[in-house]
Structures are given as C-alpha cells and as structure tokens.
Point group: C2
C-alpha cells in the first residue's frame, strides 16, 4: 500500500507539503495542490483518516446532541446540519438525549473520548458547569449554556408576539399558550421561552390575563398529550385560541379539537411554531411562525468552523421569523 512518503517522492515535494495539502493547512498553490491529488490518484493512495486525525488531533467529526431525531423539528435540523457539515468536510455523530440528564452527560463524555472536534447542542438539560471544562468548541441551538458559548436562535420573542397578535386580530378572547415543558416557561436558559414571553406581552397589552398549559415533558415520540389536552379544553370551554410552542404540539391540539368536535377556525384558532413540513400537511393547514432552519444551520456550521480556527464569533445569533397564515386562523 502506498504511503505519504511515496506520494511526496513521486510528486517531487516534501512530506510536509503533501501533509499540508491533505490537512488543508497553510498556503498551498493551486498547482501544488492539483499535483498532489493527481499523484495520489495515480498511486491509488488512501489516506487513513483516523491516523491523520490522531496526528493532527483532529477527527473531522462533530457531535450533535438533540432530544430525538424522530421529532419533526429536530429531524429537519439534523438534515440541514449534516448537509452543511458535509460541505465543510465534517461528519456528524448523532446522539438522541431524550432530554435525560444522565444520557446527556454520558454523551458528552463519550464525544470527548472520541475526540470530536466540536459539539452542537440542540437541546440541553444539564447545568452550566458541565460545559465549562469541556475545552471543546460548542455551539448551542436555542439554549443559553454558559459564558462564552455562542447561541443560534430564532427571534422567539417576536414570534410569540406575532402569533398572539394574529389570534387576537382574528377575534380570540381567551387564547392560551400550550407548551411541552422542561422546567417552567420562565426557565431562563431555554430561549424558546421567549415565545411565552411574547405571548404574555401581547396579552397584557390587550388587557387579557395570560393563560398557559404545560404538557408533561414526554419522550418526544408518544402521543399521550392528546387526552391531557382534551381534559384541559373540557374544563375550560371559554378557550377559543391556542398558540402552540411547536407545530407538533399544534398537530396534537388539532386532534384534540377534532375529538371534541370543535370546528377550526370557527370555534378554535391555532398557531404553531417552526413551519416544519407537517404544518402544510395537516387538515386544516396550520398557521405558524416560520424559523429559517436552513439558514440557522448554515450559520451554526460557520460558527463551528470559526471556533476551530480560534476566531472571535458573535455570542448571540438571532434569526428573523415570519408569520405564515394558513387555514387554522
């Protein structure tokens, strides 16, 4: 099997130069680069990525920790992140934490041992101190973790305001905010709670008492929420609108209304959050707040790349949201 040395010899270059081409480090002319690749091809040279990674202390792997890739939002997130990681020559190690503290902890240890170059945290339930000593570039998605860890998020506060204002404009008198919760809606670290704050601000400005329904934090892939919602709506017949913290929760609200024979949008108006693909496959089609998932994922990978080059990056990266009116309002 040909070695790096053989490539260097045949190309008439030093081993250092060939290694720099392979590792994409330092300035290399176009001509030199092309020559190295041509010779590699001629010799059928296969660089051993793992040996190179160990040498460079780079694995070209990024760990992705999310609650569950089976959740439509995190499925789209993982898809887009993998796309941009691949564009940058990175591979994504998938970890589903189920929002379980022990599992999240275990994954972080595991990722560190596997020497991933960086971690993308799509959700975290661990306390801040677990991240402070990681000595790894981390980018957080929608959750404030610790001092210098950059965050990518959508404008949750504006999203909450737009959704609630739409419900009021369409005539709702008693819209509630329904969310699946870890901690309360004011748990500071969860930036998604900006959605609740936007809801509350608009409600207060309209002189209506805010009203929140917290669903049990579930394993993300059961549908135990529907009986819970039916019970809530039975107890509270005056409720005439729902701002749901995600499109999936909104889909469950539609099911609950269907079982209670509440007509949408006549008896109940609903706005979701995310604009994942199912939003437009529900009947009626869901009005929702669109997060620009693709752009947010592109930004996340750009931040990871900059952190790896030890460049300065902005701490808060907030993306605009758009109100999408469909048939539930």
């Amino acid at each position: 099997m040909p070695k790096l040395k053989d490539v260097a010899e045949k190309a008439g270059l030093s081993v250092t130069t060939v290694s720099r081409v392979l590792n994409n480090r330092g300035y290399i002319s176009r001509e030199t680069r092309d020559k190295v690749y041509r010779v590699m091809k001629e010799l059928n040279y296969q660089p051993n990525e793992m040996a190179r990674a160990l040498f460079r202390k780079k694995s070209n792997m990024i760990g992705l920790i999310i609650p569950a890739v089976s959740h439509p939002f995190f499925g789209e997130l993982a898809y887009q992140l993998e796309y941009y990681a691949d564009q940058c020559g990175y591979k994504l190690l998938l970890c589903n934490s189920n929002r379980d503290i022990a599992k999240e902890h275990k994954y972080i240890d595991m990722l560190k041992k596997n020497q991933v170059d960086a971690i993308i945290m799509g959700s975290s339930v661990l306390n801040v101190e677990h991240y402070l000593h990681l000595e790894l570039p981390i980018v957080s998605f929608d959750r404030s973790i610790a001092g210098n860890i950059p965050i990518v998020t959508s404008d949750n506060l504006l999203g909450g305001k737009l959704a609630t204002q739409l419900l009021l404009d369409k005539g709702c008198r008693k819209p509630v905010f329904v969310y699946r919760g870890v901690g309360g809606p004011h748990h500071q670290a969860l930036l998604a709670n900006g959605r609740a704050q936007g809801y509350e601000a608009v409600m207060k400005a309209a002189g209506i008492e805010p009203d929140l329904l917290q669903l049990k934090a579930s394993a993300e892939d059961d549908s135990e929420e529907i009986p819970e919602m039916i019970h809530f709506f039975q107890q509270r017949p005056e409720v005439d609108g729902v701002f749901a913290s995600s499109d999936l929760v909104a889909a469950e609200v539609i099911q609950a209304c269907s079982r209670l024979r509440k007509r949408i949008p006549d008896d109940m108006k609903i706005v979701g959050y995310d604009d994942v693909r199912i939003a437009s496959l529900l009947s009626p089609q869901l009005s929702t707040v669109r997060q620009p998932i693709r752009e947010m994922c592109e930004c996340t990978l750009q931040l990871v790349a900059k952190l790896l080059e030890e460049e300065e990056v902005p701490k808060i990266n907030t993306f605009p949201v758009t109100l999408i009116e469909r048939e539930t309002t």
Copy 2:
C-alpha cells in the same frame, strides 16, 4: 495523566487483561471487570477511544446512509437505530444521500476512510458492484444489495395485499397504487416494491386492472407532488381509492383531496404504509400498514454485532406487518 499501565499496576492485573476489559474481548470474570472499572474511576483514567480504535482497528462507529433524516420514516428509523447502537457501545455517523448516486458513492468512500466498523444502508441507488469490495460488514434496510449482504425488511408483499383488500372490502372499484419512485415499481432491488406486487396480486384476483401512479423522485423534503396528484385525480375521476407507498405520500393525497373537495372516506379511501407518528395526527386519521420499526432496528444492530464477530447471519430478515384501520377507510 494516568495510563493503561497505571491502571493495571494498581489493580494488580496485566496490561493485557485490562485491555481486554476495555475492549470487551474474551472471557473476563465479573470480579475482574468490576475491579478494573473501580481503579479506572479512582485514577480518573480516560481511555483515548481514537488511539484504542486505531490499535484495535475498531472505531466503534457505524455509518448510516439514508435518503434524508427529515423524512418521517427515516427520522424514526435513525432514532431507533441510534438507540440500539448506543446500547451496544456504538456511535452512529449520519449520512443523508438524497438518493443521489454521486453522494452515496462519496459517503461510502468517506466512511471507509474513517474506518467505521460497519455500514447500515437505509437506501441505496448504487449498483451492486460498489459494495462487493468494501470488506466491511453491511446490513441493508429494505433493499437487496448483493450476494451475502443481509437484509432487514417488513413483509411488503403481505402489506400491499392487506391494504388493497381493505380498499376493496370498503367498496372501492378503482383503487390506484401511488408511489414516489426510483426506477419502476418492478425494479427488483427495492424490496418496498413488494407493496406494488401485493397490490397487483389482489387487484388481479378481483378481476380489476391494476393502475399505478409514479410520482417524481424528489429531494424528499419538498411538496411538489400535490399539484401532480391533483392533475392525476382530475384526469381520472373514477379513482375512488389510494394505496400510498408511505404515510407521507398518503398525507399528500389527503391534501390533494381536500383541494379537490373530495370527501374522505366517502369519495376517496386511503391507506398508507409505515405507521409513523404523523399517521395518527392527520385529519382524518390515516389507515395504514404498520412496520415494526423498533424491532427492525433492534434486529439490524444484532446483525451488525454478529457480522463483527464473524458469525453467520440469516440473509433475509422479514418482519410481520399489521393493518391499522383509522378514519380514511
């Protein structure tokens, strides 16, 4: 930083024994294992997984190639596979191929260079010969690849028969099979085409001409299919039933019917395939053929583990399907 030697010394064991514990190889008594882990903890010993992997030629990583994790079926598949991989001490490298031949090829090269221990192919569009020289354990999901590569699949033929028989039993005279296709429905390698064959067998037995609608193979995450379906149903007003090749396609059929003001199930009856979570969140709730995704993923990891131990495994692993009747029939 403590080394393996330090752990061995303190535990009063040989380096070989400690290494066997870490690599989970050969017979080790419970007592010895416990002692090694206790000393590792006392010394705060962190095995460097990558160095170990290189030494053992094991990375404890499995490459997963699927069309798109944002697709509800593949999202649930990736979630369950990651769960069972984690149980076996394996990490999953996520690759979305978009059913693009060039991308699939690139991923296979990349996975080989990264020395993954095995590959799970959730979908393949490449020809057989690309897999024959891989020298890596491969398990294929729903697609027959080559000579000795084991396959995990659901009973597509029975699923197609059950779905079609249900449509006929409910009074359909002209049910069609709608699928999103790579190649024709008889492209042998795609085991999912058993669904089409089951449909055709039941139709022929009932003396009705089979009728198939192939949608363009899309990037899995657009919804261009709906106008195409609307056009088809406008041209073919006699069609009164649809067996869709996946729940996602069925969701699109529901949308098309809604725009055409066709009532479900009165004017059109629909059966899906998969029973992913969205099936019960659609309105009306979708009748479908359930694949036991969890059990299929557990089996896939068991096959990978056996292949890694160079054990014999069954070539075809077919799981039973269940007809779930909900509101669309």
